[in-house]
């Protein structure tokens, strides 16, 4: 109902003619401003930054590495020398948890990137080229939707040995893109009817150029939001797989393997479970908040009060 202040403000300020051939997209700046204005988005982003710092800089603060074993302290509660306590094996929970977090964050980010890119390309091409290209791509999408992702990933787990986590990321993203791709496809179909795409077509612009110059940029808000939410989906899937031993393989650790181990000892040694579970929940929550705030920031009709 009410115009958001910044939009009104924009209407009021006359266009200041810049000198360069192109300015930074004003729309992008509006989105950033709207995003940062939303409390939950800013909070989510801050938490996420802290999490990254913790995961990658945190281990430097502790004398223990995740491979170390303290043979003087098995399953000890948090203390001055072991901040988060120790596991049954004598490993330092702090070091192990941060190592797991590193893995989970990287896996989540990469899987989200790959799957969103895949979704964008497959969806846009299927939507733009009706006929056999559309049918083939849609059929492939359906097939992957029908295949039980968890089962396939689990069967393939023996392949994910040491050092092949990149393959794991690839497989993970292979099962994350289908729903987005379907949305991208239907949006492309309606976008193709839009007049600015038709104008480009009747101007003689080549179809592939149209996809990259007009279609994908206009879906960018959807794609960015989707990529964000895919990060949390990937982290959760990785955790679940690793919980049953189908994901990241020992001696490497991730949130999933740690939670699996921790849940067995949680009743009498809560520190083995709660630290890692808490960090996982906070991370995923932060990612989701950022995604939601981004969605609102991109949506010109959203009227969320600040």
């Amino acid at each position: 109902m009410t115009l958001p202040e910044e939009e009104v403000a924009e209407e009021l300020t006359p266009g200041v003619p810049g000198r360069g051939p192109r300015r930074a997209p004003s729309r992008g700046r509006v989105v950033v401003r709207r995003f940062l204005r939303s409390r939950q988005g800013a909070a989510g982003l801050a938490v996420l930054v802290v999490m990254f710092l913790l995961a990658f800089a945190g281990p430097l603060l502790s004398p223990w590495s995740y491979t170390d074993r303290d043979f003087t302290a098995f399953l000890q509660p948090p203390s001055a020398s072991h901040w988060f306590g120790t596991l049954q094996t004598g490993a330092d929970v702090y070091a192990v948890t941060l190592r797991g977090m590193q893995k989970s964050l990287i896996v989540g980010l990469l899987a989200a990137l790959v799957s969103t890119a895949l979704a964008a390309l497959v969806g846009a091409f299927a939507g733009y080229f009706p006929g056999w290209a559309d049918r083939t791509l849609t059929w492939l999408t359906d097939l992957l939707l029908v295949l039980p992702a968890f089962l396939i990933l689990a069967i393939m787990s023996p392949v994910f040995g040491e050092g092949t986590w990149a393959l794991f990321v690839l497989m993970l993203s292979l099962f994350l893109w289908m729903v987005t791709s379907k949305i991208v496809r239907s949006m492309t179909v309606s976008l193709k009817r839009r007049e600015f795409i038709q104008a480009a077509r009747f101007m003689g612009v080549r179809p592939v150029t149209i996809i990259f110059r007009h279609v994908l940029p206009n879906l960018s808000s959807l794609l960015i939001v989707d990529a964000t939410l895919n990060v949390s989906a990937a982290i959760l899937t990785e955790t679940s797989l690793s919980y049953f031993g189908f994901g990241i393989q020992p001696p490497d650790v991730s949130f999933g393997t740690l939670i699996a181990d921790g849940s067995k000892t949680a009743v009498y040694a809560p520190w083995t479970f709660w630290f890692v579970a808490g960090l996982l929940v906070v991370t995923v929550l932060a990612v989701n908040l950022v995604g939601d705030a981004l969605r609102d920031a991109f949506d010109p009709t959203s009227t969320r009060p600040r």
Binding site: L3, R22, R27, A199, M203
Partner: protein
Amino acid sequence: MTPATTPETAPAPTSASAPVLDVRDLGVCFGDVPAVRGVSFEVRPGEVLGVVGESGSGKSVTASAIMGLLPSSARVSGSVRLHGRELVGARDKELNALRGRAMSMVFQDPLSALTPVYRVGDQIAEAVRVHQRVTKEQAMVKAVSLLDLVGIPHPAERALAFPHEFSGGMRQRAMIAMAIANDPDLVICDEPTTALDVTIQAQVLEVLKKARDETGAAIIMITHDLGVVAGLADRVLVMYAGRPVEVGTVDDVYYRPRMPYTVGLLRSIPRVDRGAQRRLEPIEGSPPSPAALPPGCPFGPRCPLHVGACDEAEPPLFETGPGHLAACIRWEDEAASQAETAVSETGTAAEEAGTAAEEAGTRPRAPAEAGEAEEAKEAAVPRGEPVLRVEGLVKDYPLLRGAVFKRRVGTVHAVAGVSFAIREGETLGLVGESGCGKTTTLLEILELARPQRGRVVVFGHDTARLGPAERMAIRRDMQVVFQDPLASLDPRMTVHDVVAEPLRTHGLGDTGRRVAELLTLVGLEPEHAERYPQDFSGGQRQRIGIARALALEPRLLVLDEPVSALDVSIQAGVINLLASLKARLGLSYLFVAHDLAVVRHIADRVAVMYLGRIAEIGSVDAVYDAPAHPYTQALLSAIPLPDPARERSRRRILLEGDLPSPAHPPSGCRFRTRCPKFRTVLTEDERVLCVEAEPDVLPVGEPAGDQGAACHYAEKLDVVQPRRNSR
């Protein structure tokens, strides 16, 4: 001034009767942004009050405020009294009892205004049952009789249909049936015909008149179309920037406008009864944002009579005559300038009012464009080889049904054998109502592919035999401007990138200078290149679209409803721009539009389409002054003129029913199912020909000229100017 009384309207309200609705100093704010400021008016029983304004003038918000249907974020001040009962601040329960019974509302878009998952009959019956203690069956019987009243054929059957199974006109009839279900004293119509075609609009307006006569209700008619209220309203209220700027009887406002905004509005409307001999006068600039009103008179920055005193304070409503108010400190000057030209005949009064001020020399604006428009008209003599020739073009679509189980259930014959040609430097207007196939025709031409049947020849090249290189070359010479100026510009690109795209696509370097040139050509600043399409107003955006289309110096411009998304005052500027560009650059236009008045102003020749075929084609003056096809006649007579006296005395040819589905066109002549001539004039024997043979476009008129009509019994008839014809 005597109140406007005509045989078909109800007795005019006497000033003695108490008002049904009394609005005093109504104000609505959304946050800090005032949407409506100080609106006051009253409506008496049986009276029709027209509320006129452009988009954003606050007219719809006023309607919602009266009904108490504003979102909770709105703050309402002032007073709204219905039969003396205060509605502002009344409890919701109290309002619920009044809404739908004492006052009801008809909304603009009848598709979204009906709940999609319930049957139409049930929704009308619900309106009955909310206020009357009747059984379900009784309510349904009432609903069916209401549907009958508003002219829906087979009402008992149609009551069981869902809204999506109704056509636009039928939905609006159903909405009206719902609004009069409980015999209200006041019906508020918010742009009830804006979403409808012009022949359907004429039907719905008739239904509204009938409903008014039936219920004796007062009607508030909100619209942006000055023609619609001219024939219907008793009094008119003109709104600008959230505030009434002129109030008076319909004749006062149309013939003796005192507020320069009203004057400008009346002059900027293209009229079907006048061609390019009268140049359109756009109002400069665009309406102010409600959040940032200029100091003093909000119309000041756009006003030709603007003086320093205008900026000092917002002018109050001055009483300029009995019952005639205008918010302009210079209303006396306006009156004086109009008085210089004596008003003799009512029939020419509007014309007089329009030209009076100009003659007085108060409006010395854009003389260059005026000259060019005239020039364009003169240069329009058909000459040379056609730049575009279409012969027997046919396009069918599969008719798919079902969103989930999509299946082909038939074939839509969207274009069924259309032929026309455009010569160098000529403008052909392609007009018709929605679903007549004009846009399909245009897209088929733009595709530059082999048509399903028939031939498309562009610049002498048959599109069926084009190689990729030739096609690319033709694309360079033929450009397109679309309807919705925002939708046709990629929102993620700067204006520079938008305008430069055709240059880059066709491998032309040095885009910077060319873009600056183009922007200047269409009346924008070169600095605008840095900005994004959403930073511009509608008219400016359409100028960007035109600049892009001109980038490659095309010979033929295809325009798909280029002004229909724009407000009246802005529309005129774009029309003038197109006319002057054509004269200056020697362009040819294919101008597709549903608005016949716009086409009259810009086109040299016009082709009227009906259900995939051309009904009539010919030079603009011939077709508009003496249409020969019954459809053209009905179409022209359905267009409301912004001229109350003439509207009241006009004979209107009403078409019955809706457009038949293009999937099952009638046999023989496609128009015969709705043709007034077929129904009333022709004998049984004569009708056989209409049923059996599809008429071709044949020349009409004594010295067989340019005009042709696809009717077995074509006969010229003047429908626009009744003075010359009847009475």
